[in-house]
Symmetry: C2
């Protein structure tokens, strides 16, 4: 198959776009599309300082690469979770992230969970009530807390993550299967800032996972191939497989599912609780009012400390 | 496995309810649950006249059987679609429906599409623009029109159909995959009456398909086993298979998907367009205002005649 834009051999055929591109035009297309999405969803401007959370995987490193090429002021954040899983998962992720930053002379902030809180994430999961049998819950909570803290303390305007369309569709699918409306209301390419929390954006949310893998490959980005060893058998992976079967039968199904959801939200399908009294920005996913955690200052709907600070207090 | 209520051998084990029942207690449970749903969703009262649309299949005949045993004033409606498919599908369906009514001394109204409109449904599909390559669209349109017409002309208070949980979950799934919000807003156990249209209700909407098959079997109801020959490869069947895989992995997933949707709607997740100006009852699935068709009087959002009357005019 030939590239749509020249006579070179295509490296990818995107059935949902009816578009095949070569190794020169494909990465350029990804970069141009990302710029389009950044503008369309009002994610950030060239004047703003951007912090990209990198895991060492294909999505986050590709995102950093794209934003860097587009000329944005973008630093990286690597969070050392202390996950080994017999493959030195965190060590290798960190090495690849550092190498990436070094090669491009970019600034990478590093937060080491064990150094900061005395325990690795797997240890936190073992020691705390929340973690019992579900390290992914502790990990997600910790990452969200630390990412926001690093962005606030570093004076960044926006925190960006490498979530791709497969990630977003899987989350939406899981929430729609049980109509967890608090989460559905908040899901989107941008989550506006609120007291104690910076703006969050997902510039890759309209690219398929395979498109990001192809981008990383074509651009020669060295990333960690392994999934996190704890993710095996997770719900998200299960939903991704299910959506992949749907996509195989009906090309474009995943994209249509996510984009028509965004459109329905824009058309006012979902309403926030008591729309006259409070804006959705002041309400958490459980529909309760947000207030700042007395310990860390990040917003929470619990009566006292936020879930992260309670977890950390739990092990002291 | 033993029956929960006695020492007899169970004929069915409903994993999502953690409930196994014998051939005596199972049909009784179905009947009791149906009564509960009829009351919970305000479907109809013993004083009202009910018309049940029967196809000769397990769901609609079981529904008629249940409502009859519960003592409701319920007549049947059989629509002769003129579908053969090499297996005499319509003839056999009609014979089984007539036999069922005769055995219980119940009244069955019959509308024959060919006798009434000069063509069978497959012929209509061939002759009309709407039907090109999709007889199911013509069939659905015709059935909806004729069912409502028969209910209005017969002075019935409510039209009931045998849609089960698998049917409802598959429709919801298809609509959620593309966020077709107009249909999602209207989907539920009851659709209230509006000008020119009787109330519609689905008393079986919380029973799994296999539960209705078991009911028909235990009650000795003779029904047509074949699916409609035109339904092969339909989207609904595809979605049902997908949901069945999900259900196999996570028992109760289908039920949770449908019931949490109803709950989210009740909690006000969805809003109707311009809630202050018009009630949802006056708006069609496309969000446009309804008005009566000048030919048949049924509500439509098109400028002139409704889709059914236009289709019928098309072949004259």
């Amino acid at each position: 198959m030939k590239c749509r834009k020249c006579t070179e051999k295509a490296v990818i055929n995107m059935r949902q776009h009816k578009l095949a591109l070569c190794k020169t035009h494909y990465p350029q297309w990804i970069i141009d599309q990302t710029q389009r999405f950044v503008e369309k969803y009002l994610m950030f401007t060239p004047q703003e300082r951007v912090l990209v959370a990198v895991s060492g995987g294909k999505d986050s490193l590709s995102l950093w690469d794209i934003l860097w090429q587009l000329g944005y002021q973008v630093d990286g954040l690597y969070i050392g979770l202390g996950i080994d899983g017999g493959i030195g998962y965190s060590d290798e992720s960190q090495r690849l992230s550092e190498q990436f930053a070094h090669d491009r002379d970019l600034r990478l902030n590093i937060v080491d969970v064990e150094g900061e809180y005395g325990r690795t994430v797997p240890e936190l999961a073992q020691k705390t009530h929340r973690g019992k049998g579900k390290p992914c819950s502790v990990c997600g909570l910790s990452k969200r807390h630390i990412m926001n803290q690093a962005a606030v303390q570093g004076g960044y305007d926006v925190l960006v993550t490498g979530h791709n369309l497969d990630d977003e569709a899987a989350v939406l699918f899981g929430n729609a299967l049980n109509w967890i409306t608090g989460y559905m209301l908040r899901q989107g390419p941008v989550l506006d800032a609120r007291a104690g929390m910076v703006r969050k954006a997902k510039p890759l949310c309209r690219f398929y996972e395979r498109e990001m893998a192809a981008y990383a490959l074509v651009r020669g980005i060295d990333y960690i191939y392994d999934e996190c060893p704890h993710a095996v058998g997770s719900k998200t992976i299960y939903y991704k497989e299910l959506l992949n079967r749907l996509e195989a039968d009906r090309p474009g199904a995943k994209q249509s599912f996510y984009l028509s959801f965004l459109q329905a939200k824009e058309n006012g399908l979902f309403r926030t609780p008591d729309p006259e009294q409070v804006s959705s920005q002041e309400i958490g996913v459980d529909g309760k009012l947000l207030h700042p955690c007395p310990t860390c200052g990040q917003p929470t709907t619990t009566g006292g400390e936020c879930a992260f600070c309670r977890m950390v207090a739990d092990i002291r």
